[in-house]
Subunit: 137 residues, 4 copies
């Protein structure tokens, strides 16, 4: 079981004329789940932690495999595991599931950057300590 | 004929399982058209004009009537008329059409605000002069 | 207090460079709340009820007033009241609030249509009975 | 130079509080470009060709590398190359550029499926012949 799990419902406007969630939305779902991880596990809000650290996180790489579609009103779970915590980057794997079936797998590489310059910067300690709790065991 | 017209195509991801453009997208289409008006008719880019003036524009009110749906791949036109230019606000009417048929009508009221405080502020002269060209005649 | 209330969080991707929820998203938030009302209060899922009735609902008119912006990570509430249930249409008012402050007000007029023809059709009894519970009292 | 190129402008609502295009939108941009390829190079509209063939295309895999951000109002180009045309699938590489600088690279694998069953199905001849024109040379 992945260390962090977030549940959401597929919204009507997220589905396309094929009657399934439009593919780009899965990247959004992963972003929403990671934001929730930050929200729940940092002291203070995500926005405050990041801004007071003077850093921001950006996605550097994303690999998605689409195995089966999510449909309108489906309740889906985004399960996240921190696979690697480097100096300035981290890798997170994501499983998007419905009733235990994997619909989409994701591998995301994030880079921490200085607000303003967008230059790579070490992961702030508070963030590193929090994310380390969500590694695979 | 409305003084400003912008043409766009309905994107696949903007359509929902009813196979029509999801209703909220029409507000976005109007925003895109107004942005294009700014882009074409200001010296310098929209963003620069606004930031150098220290002001921003926000929508204060929007009324939309949905007469007929736009579908995937439809080429639609957003026709804009500046109906009123006040001290701190302006009203714009929008007709969203396909092949001359009106699909959606919109009435938008915008307010100019100071960046930072979000307090109402007079419309900058350069913006007022530009927008005045798009009044109904 | 409005008869139906739905809570959601403003997502990062729903916010624009003004750092507030982009205006079109409020129409989406109202749609999400109404969908949730359907989900919770119909026997069977929303999609099934509608499809088995052979009807669909479309927005015919929307009036929004934007009083204050919602920001990233804000928890907001969409409060809905069915103001009128006609033969083929219904009117719903919406208040989008944060901590009791009204951010956006909405008045929506919906029309029930036959799937396929998109012609107006009477509101199915099951839907009418359900919606009647959410009138103002 | 890639065989197919599509130009678009980054919309305001596609940018997030980091003031750059939100990451999921790049998947949408690639989808929009491919749809335009279909539109321009098929006899009849994309939707008609696909529906009359009884097939649909779904994304099976997507790899994106984010090298630099696109910003509001940027004019960007999505350059597509068909890298492989298999029996039921095809691979397309995408370069998303601004003024010749690569912002995002994408590798997409698509699978053709039967409408209804969503089972893999051979690429229709008309689609195969069209896509073959966009291979790397």
């Amino acid at each position: 079981m992945a260390p962090f799990r977030y549940t959401l419902r597929v919204r009507f406007n997220e589905c396309d004329p094929q009657r399934v969630a439009f593919n780009a939305n899965y990247l959004t779902y992963i972003d929403i789940a990671i934001t929730d991880l930050y929200r729940q596990h940092f002291d203070g809000s995500y926005a405050e932690v990041m801004e007071s650290s003077g850093v921001d996180v950006v996605v550097a790489e994303a690999k998605l495999k689409f195995l089966a579609p999510a449909r309108f009103d489906d309740q889906i779970e985004v399960a996240l595991t921190v696979e690697r915590l480097g100096n300035t980057g981290m890798e997170i794997s994501a499983l998007i599931c419905r009733d235990g079936d994997v619909l989409v797998t994701g591998e995301l590489r994030y880079v921490f950057v200085e607000i303003g310059s967008w230059e790579k910067t070490p992961i702030p300690d508070q963030i590193r300590a929090t994310m380390a709790q969500f590694g695979s065991t």
